[in-house]
Symmetry: D2
Subunit: 365 residues, 4 copies
């Protein structure tokens, strides 16, 4: 299988480079009969755009998606859905001098060695965060499919920026407030502090990282497979493909490993005639299978690697020490752009598993 593809039945393939002609996605295995038009995808892509505020890069991609195949008379046909975004704002000269002076924290050095200098390094090429737009193209379809067929809903939000963090998980109600601010945090007070933290980093020519929390409700019990098809396995594989992600945890996660079994185990109770658990330390997954409780996961993003400070590096031709200041347009914090990306990959993985489990049929109309 191509390392640009993910999924077994709902298969998503990503192509394109940051500063090439376009970026694109092919989704194969989407059931026939899903109502789909470009604006379903565009809407979610737009959430990934940085706000007008100072927080984000000033790169002005329109990121207008076009559907090239797989949709006929307004419905998916069961054939591969190819989608594309033409790259319009390519300022590659910003990056030209970087090839032989690898930027700390970027893929430059290992990519240079791996491809012997042949890779398209402009704007990090294939390794660019820009490719996450292709995740959103596929994710918008998966998400709509899950909502239509199983009423599964995913919402992700910034729960931490540097050391500023939300105390509790967002409630279902709070999901409507996520996009009310530019950091995508549903708690407006914390959001303001996060914003200040990002601005401070920016002023210092520095960057900060953070954490995205993602919650998915209404997953039927028993999605996932034992061993290598566990939901945790497949979700983490997908999510670690986002550049800058360095950690993932489910439910009580790393904290759970500090407490006792009697505290961490989720006891079963009846609620509205349904078997549920009193707590949800498992994050909705036991034995790799969904429990019917909300899926809860957190994704740690490192601080953006591109900073305006001078950094030490090596000139790969001369093997001599040198230094660089990363030019170009950079976000001091990539976390606020991540919620729709996390939503997307979670949806892609769940759609695949729902089809594998026979819960969504090949033709849904």
């Amino acid at each position: 299988m191509s390392s640009s593809s993910i999924g077994q039945r709902f298969v998503f393939t990503s192509f394109g480079e940051s500063h090439g002609r376009c970026i694109g996605a092919v989704v194969d295995g989407c059931p026939a009969g899903l109502e789909l038009e470009e604006k379903d995808i565009q809407k979610m892509l737009d959430l990934r755009k940085p706000g007008q505020s100072i927080i984000a890069t000033q790169r002005k991609e329109e990121d207008k998606v076009e559907i090239l195949s797989g949709v006929f008379r307004g419905y998916t046909t069961g054939a591969p859905i190819a989608m594309i975004i033409w790259n319009t704002d390519q300022r590659s000269h910003d990056y030209d001098n970087l090839t032989l002076k690898p930027r700390p924290g970027h893929s430059d050095y290992p990519a240079y060695i791996k491809y012997k200098g042949l890779n398209d390094f402009r704007g990090s090429g294939r390794f660019s965060g820009r490719l996450t737009a292709t995740f959103v193209m596929a994710g918008a379809i998966a998400r709509k499919l899950l909502e239509k067929t199983l009423k599964i809903e995913t919402y992700s939000y910034t729960c931490q920026v540097a050391n500023v963090k939300m105390k509790d998980q967002a409630t279902t109600k709070m999901k409507n407030f996520i996009y009310k601010n530019e950091v995508r945090c549903p708690d407006q007070k914390i959001a303001e502090k996060m914003r200040a933290t990002i601005l401070a980093a920016r002023r210092n020519g520095d960057s900060v990282g953070g954490v995205i929390e993602s919650i998915t409700t209404n997953i039927p019990v028993g999605l996932g497979e034992p061993i290598f098809g566990s939901l945790e396995s497949d979700l983490s594989k997908a999510l670690f493909s986002i550049p800058a992600v360095k950690g993932i945890e489910f439910g009580s996660g790393f904290h759970g490993s500090t407490i006792h079994g009697s505290e961490n185990n989720d006891e079963y109770i009846m609620k509205n005639d349904k078997v549920v658990t009193k707590t949800n330390n498992s994050g909705g997954i036991l034995g790799g299978l969904s429990t019917g409780m909300p899926l809860v996961l957190r994704v740690a993003f490192k601080p953006a690697s591109s900073i305006a400070k001078k950094q030490k590096t090596i000139d790969l031709r001369t093997k001599k020490p040198t230094s660089l200041i990363v030019q170009g347009r950079h976000d001091p914090c990539v976390v606020p752009r991540a919620p729709p990306i996390v939503d997307s990959l979670v949806s892609v993985v769940l759609a695949d598993h729902a089809i594998r489990a026979g819960l969504i049929s090949p033709v849904i109309r």
Copy 2:
């Protein structure tokens, strides 16, 4: 692809159940020409056995591996290597009453719903920690292959039990001390505290979790693929298949998301005529590719779900609340058994990527 398989070129398939006739592994894609005998695998399996001390379960599996195919005259042949361990100590009556009273923290409930009661639930069946022995069978081969061909070395150890944690990463020298104690912590003083913590939990009929840290040296630069073939993606997919794992981080991980880019970026320097980084906050991976620095990852284990305390649950037939005390043989902490399992899965993933990258040929003699 089967959800019991992992890998593209070095493909490992796991089969068997905790209390069935056997557990087994098939490894396909191992290059021909690797010297291999049963004791290469047995040695690593033995490291997974709990010590004689009070720490672990008293289940006394011999866990004696047999190679069934793929080895001829002492060398691998390029054909699938099937391996088996016969289950000898099956006390399934211990578990018989559990089917309809799902144990909190276990796969019982979602598995029951998914398989409509048809799954082999004895000893958790396919979801049992016992299946990790099959990971070690495959891992022992992968590890030997990596050592022989690329001198890659992996060592994993318990760096945290509940709130007792090592301050620093273990040095290369310390790896010889990992198996000097039953908790598999290379710092003997910390190890003693961890042991005390586990014993205390045990006395209370409770359990504790912890964290495994894993370090791999000598990985060539450029292993891994962009997007869905990133090392982080494939390593996490493999590692989240270990029961009880709820979090994974690479390098500075979750902590990294609290600091600045200028602190977290690893600057390049020359050392012994090699390009290296001054720090290793990336954990040896940038852009999904190996940097040549040590691979550093941490795996969070929840406290063992099987505890001797009374817990609330639901009788699935009557839908009435009930309670249970989990009978049988249980570890108060599974973490000390995990280092060879983590070593194994890391090796399986790296072997696969090394073959994909053309760094190990199909015939190595």
Copy 3:
């Protein structure tokens, strides 16, 4: 994916060597709830055994299958079903001198070069026809699954031996006569001529080939996928894995390419309130999808490579011409053993596609 595996949802992995300890199969993805015991598989394996007559080899493998996992209380569990046959009658000395004098028509030479002499060459090792017993293990399960859930039935028979051929396709009634003779031809008169042909070849120390025809009824309309998931693609991939197969055709096949479109097209008519075609030149497949008409395919087997006549070859060490007479136990014609093998692989492919199409659910009870 391992080249020892086939299928996407019903995944079959084959392991073992002709003269190693065992041969085996792992089937993953079989739905839970299929009643299954060893004799279901044994029955079909026994059909693959050569008759007591002079036709076949005198190798006396018992070929007794054991189920190792995936079945609990008489039903499949959804977990991988591992099966094994221990090799009991290994006369490897017969083959020892062959390594460096490659037998014409066998895999010896390319295998020797590919594996640099490391492959288990005894009895052709991994390339032996003996491995087709693993196809039957998997096939027996697939076949039972298809019968139980969709009433799909497959029957295959010898329709040609050398130049002796049946004039017409066997009718459904005739399928009961297939195993009434040792050549597995449902037309008893033709069968007798085939037998004479085989005996004549045997007397001359020579061998003959032939053709298997396979018919499958009751396939629902629309199984298969466009492009690379066409039924023809997946069936041929499976069937060409049988040693000695050198040609495959569907419906009118090679003959169809000599006639006109107006003759070859199958017109639609109504019959018993069902849309059917008047003729079935398509062999039940159009556009890679099943049409609801019987699947008809033919598989061409070359004459067995092992013959008692002296043949020219090269000594690979000295690069000098030499000659050899193949010793050991050989069938003068392998075709009569092939019907259950063809049945098996057809069933494996159809089971995979039926699951992919959502026609068989993950739990069937």
Copy 4:
């Protein structure tokens, strides 16, 4: 894996529909460093175009390929190579009345049932022969890669149209004459007869089929894998994805099953210090592995389904018998367009296997 994809390391994904916006291909896993520009692909696409003569359809697609990604400064980068052809000449009204009156010999009926009428049926949509242009896009790259790195050369030609057939296999010299005539037969006299046969069919509103023979030289010994990775398995899987293909044979194929082992076995001899076989009845494959002799295969095409004669069918709405005359632009024989398609798929499969075997490295410059 998507059923629109093929290959393990050199992975080709096809998308698009006959009368949609475009057709396209994504090739992932092509090594970095291959010199590649659009005209390399265009050249091969042009060979697929029908001649100006009466033989072929008058559909005038320009079929101009554009490379969208994966090539930088004239060389492949190792990233996915996306390619596209915009559909410009869409006369879909020709097909509009066909949906509910399935054309005999076409995918209409099973596709309608499978997709419940949701598939894009215009011009057969996803089932159209037009999609074979995407095979050529991928194939042109694979072919260039194989020539550059291993000097492997493939040539395919029409060896039979209806009952007009070449007596012998084309010699290496003859390959230069393949494209000298519109039927793509290297024997000019036979070509003229084939042309007459096609014209005669056309005059009668009918169609004819034929056979393509394909020869590949310079394949290293040992390409392919045992069991399901046999060259025959992977080649046939690829080739049966061409619409209208109903049979495939290698070497002596179906004829081989009528002769004796002593005639069919290829004896080994030395020639120019190389081990070769005197004859090549195996078609260059033994045990699924390449022998170093030329790969020889034949692909049977049924007569084109679209004919101008009135045919019986069923109105799917009323379930009443009706009849139709297929309107639109149709080739009376598709075989002359097939040689570059067969070349392409053979190249795609061999490139994948050569990479899997470690014979082509991930970076070739």
